[in-house]
Symmetry: C2
Subunit: 74 residues, 2 copies
């Protein structure tokens, strides 16, 4: 069971990924393909529905051409 505090972290991360994806004019499909993860997973991550692993977080940062810490800093 993910506690409330974690839900905030997971939702904030999802919003950040969405913000960065849109700022680069990428569709969820384009981001998913270049990150090598399923399209459905990008949607669920952006909506804060799933708790991504470090390797998924890294795959997303690589696909966005950003250092991983940029996914956590505005």
């Amino acid at each position: 069971m993910i506690n409330i505090k974690n839900q905030e972290v997971i939702k904030a991360f999802g919003s950040r990924v969405r913000e960065l994806r849109i700022s680069q004019n990428l569709s969820q499909e384009e981001l998913a393909n270049s990150a090598g993860i399923p399209i459905s997973q990008v949607g669920r991550i952006e909506r804060g529905e799933i708790n991504p692993t470090l390797s998924t977080i890294h795959a997303l940062s690589s696909a966005l051409n950003l250092n991983i810490e940029r996914l956590f800093v505005k």
Copy 2:
């Protein structure tokens, strides 16, 4: 199956957690207790044996009193 690239990311993260923990003179047990995760999990994370989730990464950063991005930046 975690690919090689991911293994590097996971190992680097583990080394970083270990480096930060030691710099704060914390034992694995103290870090685990304040992060609310099992001691065995801290050891396995530090050795790069498991692929931690975002909420575990956040729990570790909180326990180390650091913003989450500091776990990814030297």
